[in-house]
Assembly symmetry: C2
Homo-oligomer: 724 residues x 2
């Protein structure tokens, strides 16, 4: 079976149809028809109608049913064509065999958009895909939009519309309005997260299940939510993007608009990717590239959807920004504080150091031995009064080094007073106050008190950690908002006296010439064709030297014995030449052997820099530690290009082995600034070459001690033909 291949290049049609309604109107329709509306909850049309009615859609609701004069207490229309127009949305859940006909009727009746619940289409088999294509073509030819097929509809509290069959709607007391917009490639997940949101006091503006994205796709909805006044935070569940470049552009637009975008993507592992493939027929680019594109564009990637929705709700209530400083952590369970402090520290989250002013304020209620961060309120001096808790919480919130106050609420004395103190601290300080209400089914009144005062609801420390991690990550990623300026002497390509081959492998000398043209240091080298020329080159370069055989057929020079290191004199160079020439003649018999004589470079660290071209996102810069560690630890990071020096530094800081560059066990610190400069220059090279580059490796970049620079001593690249 052939799968739908979603390409990196957006295959937009030559001309967009003139659409009957804009996407914003899909989210805020004034009239909705339910094809196959029924009074039976066993049928899709019945459940959808019941959900819409239960949640009180304020617009016009039109049940379509050829056999009934009335459905759900409303007048029913025998066919969509007989219903009074204009109809903004028609929801369709007919079997596949009737789909084309039904969509045709809607198109002819002037419907603005169809929401197609019907499944077993492109995600199922070839026949389904053919039918889906036909349906889309028909709709487009009429300027009618489609949501789905294989979707679960939409839930738009901002429009008062619950247009979905999901059974969770029947149990919700009311749609909770709020600022979180959610777009999902999984319909069932929308139903689950509707409950998650309700349980965590998360208000939604819109939730949209996009199914197979046959017409309206994730980016259409993302764009509409960025423009939507009711939406302040956007959350996405992604299996594969149809238009990755548009996604990046929209993410940047959201950043400018001050609307945080959160995302979960399936396919981090082969198991997840396989599951996603059979779920919505999606073939995705690499997960690492997705994460890199997101981080560069300011999108916060989460590991799972429920935690994402909880975080979105927190950001909706408290904002997504935290200021300078760390976490001020307070609780009244000594054990809970200790374990959670461990988890914060293990996650690399910064605990604030109290200022002297804070210590002085805490001294009123605590012995000096008991004024750690976290503060365990249970460890106070003397008798317990509300003042102990109120003063302590105020002192921590006021601390200049505290960016966010974390309170771990467990079953404890003075819960209401504590909640009020937290609310007051939030209002007075203007800082985010994250209360983790670790009270299970106990003390629901306290949770409601916090929620009523505008604080968010987080019930498990797992989620609290996700929220904190996202706040501080977003603060770190801010540097990526600025792509920086082109460094002196780093292109543009057109200004350089370089001619790229039309396509093919760039060998080491050619790659180094390209790097050097962008101002990246490379070691001195000379290509020679006989032993005495090698000796002469070595004398010019200075001993010790390296000899590398140049072969068009051998890719891994070291493995083939084509690299001779540390040759100290002319005899060693001659012997080296002889050995390499033998190997080269055996490999490339018909070509006279050529060898590169190079300066031997020593350093304190070896990195690998490179450019990877993702099927979805195009060129991204790679930085990591070299050698077998890359294979085993996968200690590398990717980022969109070009990069500012600050972003390059942030990229390096994300490496697990980063401390090696600071000098471990008395070793000298490496020249990090030189690495940063090389990354920035390479990022401009990658940006300039764009689609012409298939891949590029600088391996290794030898990094000297501080002030001694970083030198590319080997490199290779693959160039492809310019796209037509």
């Amino acid at each position: 079976m052939t799968r739908i291949r979603m390409s990196a290049r957006e295959n937009l049609p030559a001309a967009e149809p003139v659409w009957r309604i804009p996407v914003a109107r899909v989210l805020h329709p004034q009239s909705v028809a339910i094809v196959g509306a029924s009074d039976s909850l066993d049928k899709f049309g019945g459940r959808i109608l019941a959900n819409v009615q239960r949640h009180g859609f304020p617009g016009r609701l039109l049940p379509i049913n050829p056999k009934r004069a009335e459905v759900g207490g409303l007048p029913a229309w025998p066919a969509i064509g007989t219903a009074p127009g204009p109809v903004d949305l028609a929801v369709i859940a007919v079997p596949g065999s009737q789909l084309l006909e039904t969509v045709g009727e809607c198109a002819r009746a002037g419907v603005g958009a169809c929401v197609v619940i019907t499944a077993q289409l492109a995600e199922f088999d070839e026949r389904g895909k053919a039918l889906q294509d036909e349906v889309v073509a028909l709709a487009r030819s009429h300027g009618m939009r489609l949501l789905g097929p294989n979707c679960m509809g939409l839930i738009s509290p901002a429009a008062g519309l619950a247009l979905s069959s999901t059974m969770t709607l029947q149990h919700a007391p009311a749609l909770r309005r709020g600022g979180v917009g959610f777009v999902s490639q999984s319909g069932a997940l929308m139903g689950t997260l509707f409950v998650t949101g309700d349980d965590h006091a998360v208000g939604f503006s819109h939730m949209v299940s996009i199914g197979n994205q046959a017409d309206l796709e994730l980016c259409d909805l993302l764009e509409a939510l960025i423009a939507d006044d009711a939406t302040r935070v956007i959350a996405l569940y992604v299996e594969a993007l149809k238009s990755p470049h548009r996604f990046v552009e929209l993410a940047r637009r959201a950043r400018v608009a001050g609307k945080p975008v959160l995302a979960v993507k399936a396919g981090r592992t082969e198991a997840g990717a396989a599951a996603a493939r059979s779920h919505t027929a999606s073939l995705a680019g690499s997960y690492e590239a997705f994460v890199a594109a997101c981080e560069s564009a300011g999108v916060l990637v989460f590991d799972e959807p429920e935690g994402m929705i909880v975080a979105a709700g927190v950001f909706d209530r408290l904002g997504a920004a935290v200021g300078e400083g760390g976490i001020g952590f307070v609780g009244s369970s000594g054990g809970g504080c200790a374990v959670t402090a461990d988890r914060l520290a293990a996650a690399g989250l910064p605990l604030a150091q109290w200022t002297p002013a804070t210590r002085a304020r805490l001294a009123a209620h605590f012995l000096p031995t008991h004024t750690n961060n976290p503060i365990d309120l249970g460890g106070h001096k003397g008798a317990l009064t509300p003042q102990v808790f109120e003063d302590s919480i105020a002192a921590i919130a006021d601390d200049d080094g505290v960016a966010v106050l974390l309170y771990l609420m467990t079953p404890q004395p003075l819960m209401a007073e504590t909640a009020d103190a937290l609310i007051a601290a939030h209002r007075r300080s203007g800082k985010p106050v994250l209360v983790v209400s670790d009270t299970g089914s106990f003390a629901a009144d306290i949770r409601q008190r916090l929620v009523a005062a505008g604080l968010p609801l987080v019930n498990r420390i797992d989620d609290g950690l996700r929220v904190l991690e996202a706040w501080f990550r977003r603060r770190r990623l801010a540097v990526f908002a600025d792509g920086g300026t082109r460094p002196a002497g780093a292109g543009p390509l057109s200004a350089l006296p370089l001619e790229l081959p039309p396509a093919g492998l760039l060998n080491e000398p050619d790659t180094k010439a390209l790097l050097a043209a962008y101002g990246i240091a490379v070691n001195a080298a000379d290509t020679v064709g006989d032993a005495e020329a090698a000796v002469a080159a070595a004398a010019r370069i200075g001993y010790p030297v390296v000899l590398k055989g140049i072969s068009r057929s051998i890719t891994h020079k070291s493995d083939a014995g084509l690299v001779r290191l540390n040759l100290a004199d002319a005899d060693a160079v001659r012997a080296g030449w002889a050995a390499l020439a033998d190997i080269l003649r055996a490999a490339d018999g018909d070509v006279a052997p050529h060898v590169s004589v190079q300066q031997q470079v020593a350093g304190v660290a070896e990195l690998i820099l490179g450019v990877r071209v993702d099927a979805d996102f195009g060129p991204q810069l790679l930085a990591g530690f070299g050698g077998v560690l890359v294979e085993v630890l996968k200690d590398f990071r990717l980022a969109a290009v070009p990069l500012s020096p600050a972003a390059a530094r942030a990229l390096l800081d994300g490496l697990r082995l980063r401390p090696l560059l600071d000098g471990v066990r008395g070793r000298p610190a490496a020249d990090v600034e030189a690495v940063v400069d090389a990354i920035v220059r390479l990022s401009w090279l990658a940006a300039d070459l764009g689609d012409r580059l298939r891949e590029l490796d600088v391996n290794p970049l030898i990094v000297g001690a501080r002030g001694e620079g970083a030198i590319a001593v080997d490199g290779r690249a693959v160039i492809v033909e310019e796209a037509a």
Copy 2:
């Protein structure tokens, strides 16, 4: 302020008192007195009495109150001495100023044990510690036990006794009886976890808050729970152990008794350790050593307490054992399945491969493209009938490669039928069926249906992952149950022609002699005192050789230039001697220089082996990758000694860089069996030396390619005097 130092050596008193009641009776008392019983819920004595009465203690309940004839509808007694005896437990929450007197009255009245809620004792300041010591001495002198002080009492559903002031008890409908016994160094945490348990259908036998452990300590309760018929699973919250060796012995006893022990320990990071110190005045040994001791003894360490209690509840209902094979994963949310499959794979949890028989059964309802693991039930062929779900769940449960069935329950069609199918699959297959009820506040009836049938309740995937991880970890750790047998030629020490110095540093030759005596390969070496002797030694050993200067004052030989590698001939040896002799004379002027001439060893990997002596747990074996990686990645593992070959292999398998030993990028695989042998031998050496060893390093152990062995080329140790 001085803190209580808990030593590695259990300082047991010379003679244990003759206790009035055994610990089992503390958990199952027949009569309980509440000192300061009150009708006011504002008072500790009032809340405790209300909690006991609410949950219907079947034994004799004796309110003590000098001012009232009746409290809580029961006759009150003016003093403990006037109440009808014998009194098994008396609970005391008086202020510190009255504590000694009250405990004295209890002691004189023949009370079996006092539960002391009173706080601000040893955990607070020196004065509190002195008072606590006095109280303990008084109680001991009468053979009366103490629980606490600074504790929250105990909740014993098995005894029908809710003897705690925690307010969560007032909101619980009833004590849920079950097989989970919990011992906590944090009282507030006991209150929190009581709710967690209730919310997750976890039944407890006993929950005990041990506070400052002034008399009864964690191990006393652990021992009692191992012997307690009502307890099937034991969970612990630990800040610091008073008697670590007893803990290990008891953990092993629990393993033999088939009762899984789960633990959370504060102090994984400095932040958590500081919080724990000011909480219960506990100074702990290293967290890594605790984890190693636990893993070797079969205790499962969790990262947080709520997840631990959820897991304990699962083990109580489904057992802690999983058989051969992997996870069979089923769900009806395609998105949820994909993301969760990613998380399972990222956590290293094994997904089963369906057998051909399973594929054939699934083919009835799914296209071949849709029979992955996980199975997304929503991707079925044709119309949905209960049969689709029932057949699929049965097929997965029956699969021989499936050790545990994981079902991700989201809001979905046919929930009741699905629940019944899962219950049936569990009963027929006898395998653990873990349903993650990811439905929030929706579908409570389905959760109840599962619970009523004996299945456990897990509501978040985070917890589901913890449970799965614990099951498979426990399966892996089973190899540690067998300490193995002493390999031929590995001691015992008394049988060896070796004399250890009374104390001090063992230099490289002495350490290697010790290693060699246990059958660990060391490279050929000879210590010489002049240049020509060095040349002669090199000729005997064979070129190339290494020269190492032997200094009593220099610890890091390489850093001081005292190691010369790869000397290829006599001239190089003479030059090396001269250089080393200069350095040695400068460092140890008054001693004639001595140099070790050694065989140069090449290999495919370098490990570090060692013995670390923890303040709590004594000697543990360390294995890791050498060099700066140890500093940055901390890629090492510890284990109790001695180790069987299977356990040594499991230890190695726990290293992140373990794949390096299999050969990466075409490198040859390392001789893992030789490493395993070296670990086993070193573990026996560590076990034999016991307290005599302060530390030992084999750094590096050079590992050859498969079949070529592993050779210790450097080593050092520190010996201390035998304990009196």
